[in-house]
């Protein structure tokens, strides 16, 4: 059933279908983690026991705050089965989240990512322009989240071409010869949002390259962009205006929940794939916010099996913009993330969580 969800064409399930398909899988995950992860069981018993009726909809499922991964070893498999441990970069001074993957869960993750990315790029690998430098891999033992992101997306490209040199200087010659090589053909551009802005858009030469055949996927958050007063609509409009680049997909996800991969739809909003969903909650009492009202973003994914990450309350603030009616025909909810919750809000939030 899980494989059916992954293998069918994405963005095809409407609200009722999604509830029907996902709920039994998620209840199965919940039971599995209760039985296999003592820390999950403890948190669940303390916070939710008695307060959760038999879930009738996705919104009734219990959820863990993402911060739990910093304070607890949340693992539903024996140590011998651990295949990979992912760690969040976190802000300086913060504890680091640790996510335990077995082979099966790691494979589900790459399958899910592939279903989503090939939905917009197609099955054939396209020539890939990377708005970064190979120097991000200089230390092979500990390359950054940026390096990991580039590697993760590299499977969808070929002739991987880095436009920044080893000193992180924009190499115009590299870009020009790439464009000449693939003149008139579709190609794939990947980069972190602020890198795309700083280096591609703001390239010193200010040349109006023809990128109308390109498909851009970018990721990495808006913090640095907000500091430069560039929001998503300015970003999209600027790239379209200067380069004719209009196939642009922002990408939102988090290390704590594999399978939560949200790609932007043609309206510029993040869209839930068939195997994941989003619920917005009131930070004061955790009730579900109606569409259009901002609150804490809860992410749901059927993938996590090796650790209890199937239903998580993030520290991001977001708002649902619509459901099943995106203008490119994609079904499912779509939303935008407007920022991070303020420290005070989160503190209030975790107090409530403790006292429940």
């Amino acid at each position: 059933m899980l494989n059916d969800l992954l293998n069918t064409i994405q963005y095809s399930l409407t609200r009722d279908e999604k509830n029907r398909e996902l709920l039994p899988l998620l209840l199965e995950r919940h039971q599995w983690h209760l039985g296999s992860c003592a820390a999950y069981r403890d948190i669940y018993n303390t916070v939710f026991e008695g307060s959760i009726r038999q879930p009738a909809t996705l919104a009734d499922l219990p959820f863990l705050p993402v911060s739990a991964f910093k304070n607890h070893e949340l693992k539903s498999i024996p140590d011998s089965e651990v295949f990979k441990v992912l760690t969040s970069s976190g802000t300086t001074g913060d504890a680091v989240s640790r996510i335990f993957l077995n082979k099966e869960t790691a494979q589900l993750q790459s399958l899910a990512l592939s279903k989503i990315i090939t939905h917009v790029l197609g099955k054939a690998r396209l020539p890939m322009l990377i708005i970064d430098s190979k120097a991000v891999f200089a230390n092979k033992q500990s390359y950054s989240a940026r390096g990991a992101g580039i590697l993760g997306l590299s499977v969808f490209g070929k002739d991987h071409t880095y436009v920044l040199d080893d000193n992180f200087e924009f190499d115009e010659q590299v870009l020009a010869s790439f464009l000449e090589r693939y003149d008139g053909q579709p190609f794939f551009i990947f980069g972190f949002t602020f890198m795309v802005w700083l280096y591609l858009f703001n390239a010193k030469t200010g040349k109006r390259y023809d990128l109308s055949k390109a498909i851009l996927i970018h990721s990495g958050g808006w913090k640095k962009m907000t500091d430069m007063a560039v929001d998503n609509s300015v970003f999209r409009a600027s790239l379209k205006d200067r380069f004719g680049l209009d196939q642009i997909y922002n990408f939102y996800g988090m290390i704590e929940q594999i399978g939560s991969v949200f790609l932007e739809n043609s309206d510029g909003y993040l869209h839930c794939p068939n195997f994941a969903d989003v619920i917005i909650r009131n930070p004061a009492d955790f009730s579900v916010q109606p569409h259009g009202v901002p609150g804490l973003v809860q992410v749901i994914s059927v993938l996590p099996q090796s650790y209890p990450g199937h239903s998580l309350l993030t520290e991001d603030i977001g708002v649902i913009m619509g459901e099943d009616d995106a203008s490119n025909g994609w079904k499912g909810k779509y939303f935008k993330v407007t920022g991070r919750a303020k420290k005070a809000e989160l503190r209030g939030c975790s107090d409530t969580f403790k006292s429940r």
Partner: protein
């Protein structure tokens, strides 16, 4: 060179390991030399060697030397 020899040569070049290491049951991430970085080098080496363009699904699916043969067979390379 037979296709099997070409395959062994491509693996050995891409992963920078001796040809003796390249056995059918050698799996992705089973040796430090075959990681996510060298995997993409391997894919382009296989594409160049056999003159094929490998689809994304097959890049992800190519999890061992034996699997590589199986996948390349789909692209009409005979072993």
């Amino acid at each position: 060179m037979s296709n099997t020899e070409k395959l062994i040569h491509a693996f050995s070049e891409a992963l920078a390991v001796p040809q003796e290491t390249i056995q059918d049951d050698l799996a992705y991430q089973a040796i430090p030399e075959w990681d996510s970085i060298t995997h993409m080098i391997l894919i382009s080496q296989l594409e160049d060697t056999f003159g094929v363009a490998i689809d994304t699904d097959d890049v992800i699916d190519l999890s061992s030397v034996g699997k590589a043969k199986e996948i390349l067979t789909k692209y009409n390379i005979v072993f």
